[in-house]
Symmetry: C2
Subunit: 658 residues, 2 copies
């Protein structure tokens, strides 16, 4: 251990400059860099609060009495490195000019750089229409303290002593402790020989106590869709995604669409309980699988953010969704909420909270709020159309002045359900399709294989959402389908086309073209299902454009997993949304999942979500008489009445290539 | 339904005087009495907030334009009674001058009396050393609202509408709702056709929603002792006890005294969980039995107050009591706490809270705080000694200037345990004993029989705590025991006395004196056990007196169930506490239970309890070197060194009577 630093008063306060912020302060010699930083509001990561345990407060020193001799590297501007500090510094393969801010005492003027990993709020890139950076500011934080054995006369309670230490060292005042954490306290103290790491929620409540020094902080963001559930296990300190896991929503067994699930709860006395239980089972599976995949236990997850549409939200929380099944489609509650995970029966850390984002209205729920949070139409001047394509299509339209939202009942066709050879996006599913304009011969790719079918015979199980959409768009582009969706008269005699009863179908994969020996066809009914789905999406968007008083949009954002696979051109060909240049169409993947992750990583964003949920104007399109008209017209490829100049360009370009 | 009241503005505000407070206000004609009362802070009970549903706001009207013609009973000073009001008034067999404050509108000057049952805060008498009145101010309140069907365009959430109604009608702002209550909301609304009663905790959180109008508000106060558990089911509106239930603490199976229970949790990996579970089982039994006895379900209980000593408190909350087993006897937490009953596994209302009073220190726990709350030594100028006699003797000493507390390990002898024929206070247990000074012949009473044994042969099962104490005191008073506790040499030859091995024993009940044919004896070991227990109590009291610097106390309060049975004279004869005139000894029964009830009925008293827990000075007497000296000296009857003039008087009086 190093000797105590003796500081002589020399009547001269040393200047400390922090980079990259440039904030500066003068402090009496002997002040630690950590204290100096606190004085000017420069936040440096520290789990142990300056106890030289965590080693998180690593900073880079550029020494010197600047202004006189320039920056020099001679010693003497900071207290010498002690052995203990050196041990902590060595842990991380540290550059020579690294110091611990809690250990280094200012003796003379210094310039200090705080590297990104030592900042409390770290920059994280969330992929979105434009790459967006957010800073980490999670609702849970860690704090390490060491409490020695009490004096023989001191019967202050263990929690009182811990609370005092957390207050004096970290500035937490008025902390409470969850019962489950209180139960952990004495054991953690004994096992850690006095050293304990507290997990603190919203600077208010201790929700976990662990023995010794810990620096792992796991959170889980879950987007629970009507058909699929996606979970992201995150490191809340670094802001990184550690593991991803997806599964089918097990509620599908009780109804493919939301209305049939509502109806199930209406007609079965234990229906709500069942749908709630399987939703929680799915969450538990996500927690176990993601944590398990990095060798951790789900009980280490201390914060969960859950988003889903209104019905999924109600079912997950065991709230009766009855009123969402009939006009005026009023939810039981729209509020953002923090629930104890244990009250949901969810097996994560016993004290963990589940934060549920607020609902907008009708069926437009917390998932749409998450999309808005991720894509931020309210921060743009361009008019943005965001389509979250899933079993329930959700639409956002607007810019910083005004944003409208709506839900459109697209049905499950976009996710491959209710399609003759439909399947979910899993290995063996056709996900890309191209059909020759002249030959009408197809080539395709399946999930799990790198090459196209014309290079190698592939194992085909079925066709997933993006595959069926591309296939239908290609069928139209190649002229096999007419713009009304019916098979062309030219089909007759083409080996890929054949009659099935009174309608035609297209043989995408012959038995002899599949290593699995199975035929994959696209029927007239499949085409109709896609038409219905895309028409619902389009009509919804059109209706919102009418309400907003705009005739065109500046850009289109395709959210939802399938948007990452389908090409913009195919989406345009299909007429999934009003005409825009292909260069203004962006596929952002699971934006609801991104939004859930943002809310998990930054608690200020939760407040923004609450404001958004109130500010975005929800439109109940089912009640609008114009919806049916728009819907019928939008059944056409790409649309019966609306001009699609960019579709013409795409078709021309195809012809030129062929 | 009555016609709307038309009020002509006459430029004259009417004077309303409320009795018994005498508060007065001037209001424009047309104002309801309820609104007028609110203006001057006169609180009138109203569950429906003035919706003419609950009928709780009944007031008595003394009409008249006083000052001019005096009080008259002519009509015209208030709006006429409508049919609806009349129906509600008729429900309660109402005097002729009764009105509903929400219905009656002021037209001219009136004097209004608010009868006790219509006051928000009702006077309740709690029996204590001095009869004490407390006013009801429970932590939970009821509020009835009616929410009509929503307009077709209004998709405001049901909870938002309810929250707005609760805010505008009752002034609750920023209400939250427990997840369990939120789940009840849609069903209650549908079933009540819009009418719902909300149970609101601390003006902060809705914890229950019931359909229609309800006015039942049940709370449970529980005193969990080392050996026995006592529960009081209360009507929180009226402040009455509706049912009482007691049982043995099932933790006794894991150790009769606290130290052996701590040791059980130390030596068994699932020991803490087991002791916790049986404690919760006992609470569940109390809830079920008390509620069941009045034909209600335990799920109707919406608030529980729990008190117990520190170890019992820790075990009930599943907090590791290890640190309470060794110096410095620091608890895990001392704080008062509000826990969700469901987090304890307690089967009451799903949203109910359990309020746990704070601990003082060491083994002096929430039960002692409850005793202090009930007996209020801090509000007296006389020096008060409060002995809570049970398996753990707890002692309070002091007055408004300073109060000390201590815990003394009396052991279970006072509760009949570890006594040869000891049993708990149940039918067939000897509870009173008299022994003739000259004859040495006994007479006794047993629980469940009205007469003494000299009038009728009784069925005797054993001897309970109060019986053994009286028996030992009588043995001493009659001269059968010497003041050192050994049997007198005169025993030889007396038919009631006989040798058992090397020591004597006294035959209290011969086989032929018991309809059950069993002999009941008091052995030298039984006498020793009582001596040890009383010496611990006395030495503890003495030590506190030394600390406080007083040589005598002004009064003694015996708390604990047994104090209600044993006579003050016998307690004095035994030397259970320092000498005071028998007239200054008070038996108050289960003061800890009274305190728990007070905290249940009045939430301000919970704050007082928290202050008391901090203010009372806990003394760890086991660590005081003088304790052993005092203890040894106090083994004598009544005490080896201290003067007991009142014992002399009692003995003289007995001799005179004989």
């Amino acid at each position: 251990m190093g000797k105590p630093i003796m500081v002589e008063a020399n009547g001269y306060d040393a200047l400390v400059v922090f980079q990259p912020s440039g904030r500066r302060t003068r402090v009496p010699p002997g002040t630690t860099l950590l204290d100096a930083a606190r004085q000017v509001g420069v936040e440096i990561e520290s789990i142990c609060g300056g106890d030289m345990v965590c080693g998180k407060c690593r900073v880079l020193v550029e020494e010197g009495r600047f202004g006189e001799e320039g920056i020099t590297s001679d010693m003497g501007h900071l207290s010498p490195v002690t052995e203990r500090e050196m041990r902590l510094l060595r842990r991380g393969g540290t550059p020579v000019n690294a110091r611990l801010a809690c250990a280094a005492r200012v003796l003379d003027d210094v310039v200090i750089t705080i590297p990104p990993e030592s900042r409390v709020h770290k920059q994280v890139v969330i992929k979105a229409a434009g790459k967006r950076q957010i800073v980490t500011d999670p609702a849970v934080r860690l704090a390490y303290i060491h409490l020695p054995e009490a004096e023989l006369e001191d019967n202050t309670s263990l929690w009182d002593r811990a609370r005092q230490a957390l207050a004096s060292r970290f500035g937490y005042s008025g902390l409470t402790i969850d019962t489950m954490a209180l139960r952990e306290l004495p054991k953690a103290w004994a096992k850690g020989h006095g050293g304990m790491t507290f997990t603190i929620w919203q600077e208010r409540e201790v929700l976990r106590v662990q023995s010794g020094f810990r620096d792992r902080l796991l959170g889980l963001a879950v987007d629970m869709g009507t058909t699929t559930v996606a979970g992201y296990l995150c490191d809340l300190n670094a802001g990184e995604v550690l593991a991803v896991y997806g599964l089918m929503n097990p509620q599908v067994a009780y109804g493919e669409d939301l209305m049939s699930r509502i109806s199930y709860t209406n007609t079965h006395p234990d229906g709500l309980e069942k749908l709630h239980r399987v939703a929680v089972d799915a969450l538990t599976e996500v927690a176990s699988e993601t944590a398990g995949s990095i060798g951790r236990s789900p009980e280490e997850i201390v914060e969960v953010v859950l988003v889903g549409n209104s019905v999924i939200h109600h079912l997950a929380l065991e709230l009766d969704p009855h009123s969402l099944g009939e006009a005026p489609f009023a939810p039981v509650t729209k509020d953002a909420a923090d629930l104890k995970a244990r009250d949901l029966g969810l097996n994560v850390s016993p004290g963990a909270n589940v934060h549920v984002l607020p609902l907008e209205g009708g069926h437009v729920g917390a998932d749409n709020v998450a999309v808005a949070l991720a894509e931020a139409p309210h921060q743009q001047s361009e008019i943005m159309l965001i389509l979250d394509v899933g079993t329930n299509g959700e639409i956002l339209l607007g810019n910083r002045d005004r944003v409208l939202s709506a839900s459109s009942p697209t049905g499950p066709a976009f996710e491959g359900a209710q399609i003759t050879h439909g399947m979910r996006a899993a290995p063996g599913a056709v996900e890309r399709v191209r059909i020759g304009d002249a030959t009408w011969e197809p080539r395709f790719k399946v999930i799990g294989e790198d090459v196209w079918s014309n290079q190698k015979m592939l194992p085909v199980q079925g066709i997933c959402g993006s595959g069926i959409i591309e296939a239908v768009a290609e069928l139209f582009a190649a002229g096999i389908l007419r713009s009304d969706g019916r098979f062309s008269a030219d089909c007759k005699g083409h080996p890929r086309c054949r009659k099935n009863g009174r309608t035609w179908e297209y043989v995408l994969v012959r038995e002899d073209e599949n290593t699995l020996g199975q035929e994959i066809v696209i029927t007239q009914a499949d085409v109709r299902a896609i038409q219905l789905a895309k028409a619902a999406m389009y009509a919804g968007a059109k209706l919102l454009m009418n309400r907003l008083g705009v005739h065109r949009v500046d850009k289109v954002v395709l959210a939802g997993a399938f948007g990452t696979v389908i090409s913009k051109e195919h989406a345009l060909l299909l007429g999934l949304f009003p005409d825009v240049p292909p260069g203004r169409v962006y596929s952002v993947g699971n934006a609801a999942g991104d939004g859930a992750r943002i809310a998990l990583l930054n608690r200020q964003k939760r407040l923004e979500a609450q404001e958004l949920a109130r500010w975005i104007e929800y439109v109940e399109i089912a009640l609008d008489p114009l919806f049916q008209d728009e819907f019928v017209a939008a059944m056409h490829f790409p649309h019966m009445r609306d001009p699609f100049p960019h579709v013409e360009e795409i078709l021309l370009a195809r012809r030129r290539e062929n």
